[in-house]
């Protein structure tokens, strides 16, 4: 029978380490996908996943005062992703794009498409968007990814980034304005 997240967190904070293992299993994919969207490559996403759970483990005493474990977890992941983005500043980590992915992913990606020209066109477009995202400063980029890619609400993002909702709104607006400018032709062409 699956256990609820709060009860797992409760067991974890009381010293039950099997509960931590289960939390890792439950949340690792969510963190990985989020990190992949923010950082654009497997290696960095992997680093974020590992580092996030190691930090949660070290900070387990704080969990007693945390009402929303998911937000706490995503906040740690997001802060680490921001650190990585700042460290990478000046050289794009996406230049190797898919070449850095394990073989299975490449197969999966290629199976998703219908025709070779469709595939090519779509890949080019997605890469253009990733490049455009890449140019944004960390906080704007992460706000755009959390809201427009991952579908978090502005209130949730405010909690994750520990800032007022107005800041989320303004970062999102600036990010979108920049993206619209860079992707102008692409956005006009689409019906």
């Amino acid at each position: 029978m699956p256990k609820s997240i709060p009860s797992l967190v409760e067991r974890f904070t009381s010293g039950d380490e099997s509960a931590f293992a289960e939390l890792v299993t439950r949340f690792q994919k969510k963190i990985y996908y989020l990190a992949f969207q923010m950082l654009g490559n497997h290696l960095d996403a992997d680093e974020v996943v590992q580092e996030t759970f190691v930090r949660v483990y070290r900070r387990r005493q704080e969990l007693r005062n945390v009402s929303n474990f998911t937000a706490f977890l995503i906040r740690i992941a997001t802060n680490y992703a921001i650190d990585l983005l700042r460290r990478h500043k000046g050289h794009s980590p996406i230049t190797d794009d898919q070449s850095s992915l394990p073989g299975e992913i490449q197969i999966e990606l290629s199976q998703r498409v219908r025709t070779p020209s469709d595939q090519f066109e779509d890949k080019v477009l997605m890469l253009e968007i990733r490049r455009a995202l890449e140019m944004l400063p960390p906080r704007q980029k992460i706000t755009a990814v959390l809201h427009d890619v991952e579908g978090y609400s502005k209130a949730e993002i405010a909690e994750i980034l520990d800032c007022p909702e107005a800041t989320v709104r303004s970062n999102l607006h600036i990010a979108r304005t920049k993206l619209k400018k860079v992707l102008k032709k692409r956005l006009a062409k689409r019906k």
Partner: protein, 189 residues
Amino acid sequence: MTCQHLLSLLEDYVDNDLSATDRARVSEHLDCCATCRAEYEAIRNLKGLLKRQPTTDPGQPYWSEVSSLILARTVEAAPLAQSGRTLRLDTSERTTFIRALVSAAVSVSILVAALFLGSGVELQQPVAVLVAKQPLLISSSLTGLVDANHGSIITRDEQIRLVRGLSLLGPPGAIGRFPVIPNLMTTFD
């Protein structure tokens, strides 16, 4: 509603974050203003494209591996961390640390084996010369041991037995113990 006022509400409209009243007013304006409608389409298309960013599953082997790694760095590392000394290793440090331990263990076992094996062989040439001729990687660390700490760690007799033993034992890997040994044995004559 002016175009400027509309634009200030447009993103919340696209995000479905507006009150019903504001929604209706924006909708009404969009129906009759091509400029604002173009802006609306641009934001909507941008959101659509961002939502389509591909997510890729690295596969079950990765998920199992990463959770084992996390547990190795947390739950399994905890007794070490609590024993007074803070041993905080990240992934690469951890790998290096384990490699160093394994390598040290291998070196010790080779040295011990070499001391035993070397005891029966006669040796005339000075140790340093022999070591210099030895075409093995291991000779560099041995040179350091024999020359730099001459006499301080092991006696000369032990040095000779050690080098002889190493020549019989050979390197632990595939560098080729057998092609190397005849080569070394000639240096004994």
